[in-house]
Symmetry: C2
Subunit: 346 residues, 2 copies
């Protein structure tokens, strides 16, 4: 394990990304999104992704120069093409536009096509909540969930993400519609760990503890047809509506360095102040949170949490005390420094 200061880690990732042609501003955003995931404890979407992101930039299968086109625009909607730019940059631009237009109209949906992996959905939803918006957002991803009745994957572990502001930290739900995200299976494989039964199925639909078999198979949707249905609708909004690829047609981030992924995202922002008094909303939401936290606790439970609270607490602690990087991820980052000629100063 290596204890790393989060800002030093972000700075290093930013420099690495700049070697592949990203502007300082875009590289900062991508690095911030990745380090934010590590701060929150969502290591599957953190700096462990730097190797693949840099490889995709280096091979040119992702455009380093950001280009975002507004293809259709109305008072409460916009359809963007990311023109194969980095997913984070496109997603941030899209959520900013949704917030701006919702501020005028009350509500706005922005879709993005021809994009790439955008990291952790909560990064964008939280940014909308910090501007006093409610947000619903999502993305599609390459397939790893089988529709009920088949053992062949069709939809991805497309996140369902929602956020709401309080006077303090926003409430943020960012969940894969599966028992765990495929990212956790991938990370277990990388760390050489086994996975619990019930997380993943082999390509033949059999339960497995081997993350490498799970990566070739599927992850288990929550509530059976319910998790499959949630994932499908996230793809309808992200892929079918936006004009991006959908289902198994998405490019594979890990193995295909020829064809752009053509990922799609969507962001719905709701301006709370257009529907009710903002202070009243926050006060009522804080009452709700307070009541939940004051419920009688089950045996062995020391605290009841609301969505995103554990991640927020981890983030504060890791900002103060440093991020613990595993040897595997640390060594990968060191190798990237060698490869791309950036001094690793931690």
């Amino acid at each position: 394990m290596h204890n790393i200061n989060w800002e030093a880690l972000r700075g290093y990732c930013q420099k690495l990304l700049m070697t592949q042609g990203l502007s300082a501003e875009d590289a900062f955003l991508v690095a911030d999104c990745l380090v934010d995931a590590d701060l929150c404890g969502v290591e599957s979407h953190g700096v462990s992704r730097m190797t693949i992101y840099l490889k995709r930039l280096e091979t040119g299968v992702v455009n380093a120069k950001t280009q975002i086109e507004v293809e259709r625009e109305h008072p409460a909607s916009a359809a963007l093409s990311a023109c194969n730019s980095m997913g984070m940059v496109a997603a941030k631009r899209a959520v900013d536009l949704a917030v701006e237009k919702a501020r005028e109209s009350g509500c706005c949906i922005v879709t993005v096509r021809n994009s790439n992996h955008f990291g952790m959905a909560s990064y964008y939803a939280r940014s909308a909540a910090e501007r006093d918006m409610l947000c619903i957002c999502g993305t599609n991803a390459p397939p790893n969930i089988a529709p009920t009745g088949s053992s062949k994957s069709y939809v991805g572990t497309n996140p369902v993400c929602m956020s709401a502001p309080t006077h303090g930290a926003p409430i943020v739900l960012d969940m894969a519609p599966s028992v765990v995200a495929m990212g956790k299976v991938i990370l277990a494989a990388k760390l050489g760990k086994s996975i619990p039964l019930g997380w993943a199925l082999t390509a033949d639909g059999k339960p497995t503890e081997d993350p490498n078999e799970g990566m070739k198979g599927t992850v288990v949707p929550i509530g059976g047809p319910k998790g499959y249905g949630l994932s499908l609708f996230m793809d309808i909004f992200s892929g079918v509506l936006s004009g991006a690829k959908f289902g198994p047609h998405l490019g594979n981030m890990w193995h295909d360095f020829t064809n752009p992924q053509d990922v799609g995202h969507f962001f719905i922002a709701v301006d709370i102040s257009k529907l009710t008094d903002l202070e009243t909303f926050k006060t009522r939401l804080e009452q709700m949170v307070g009541e939940i936290k004051a419920l009688p606790r089950s045996e062995g439970v020391s605290e009841i949490f609301v969505p995103g609270e554990i991640e927020h607490n981890r983030k504060e602690a890791r900002k103060a005390n440093g991020i613990e990087l595993s040897d595997v991820v640390y060594d990968e980052l060191a190798a990237l420094g060698e490869r791309y000629g950036v001094k690793m100063d931690f």
Copy 2:
């Protein structure tokens, strides 16, 4: 069992509702929504609810005379008060307004406060899809899910509902964020049947097969904190945002005939044609559906379905062949006819 023609059933329910002061139009809508649930096979939200609806109208705890006030309105949002009118009538008015405003702006959210139980969420989402909209909608409901870490309920089995149009039947997801809706536990109790382990917990948080114990306790959320989080956000949109009651503050439909429930709902409509070509959207969605249905099937599976398809097929079959009402529900309806002086003509 009694085989009943769906239109005769709807007409009878409409007449019963009119005896309690509902207009012919409003009574038709409520009856249509209930019978639609029975047609779809969602008996928990069907005509088995007539007794409680009529009792609430008769006691005056629900207003029979519809009054809907638009409290705030912007190009892509509106906040309504249902003034304690019937939930179905308020919900239909709200989704219609969301569709109308989305047609102008691209997207619209409409909230409703001071409402009542609105039946099956998919009734409204489907109606939006039939007008070429994507829809996300929900409602809150009295508490029956315990936040993770407690065995005391705080949020309801608030449905998560989404719909999308095709050239044929819309795709409609309408799911409780629990393994089953409390309505299924209630129906099992009414029919004197036991429930499978894993559906519900007793008031002490213990698994139970007794639906009466389950009704006093909680139902199990899908994916643990994920189902709890989904339910919480449906209440944030439906209750906290709209200005309705939320969590355990909602009035109880079954036992409280003094205080209005003050239920909240929300409806987001997205005009597909503002974001992409509508025909392209439908063709792409149909491609997706076709590909899913053509996936290799697991052993013993004769067909793979998309969300809402099973309900749609049931509806077509029951329209043709009649609805099978249980003796319990049939006898309840007969008793209502006696009580309110309506001839039961089937």
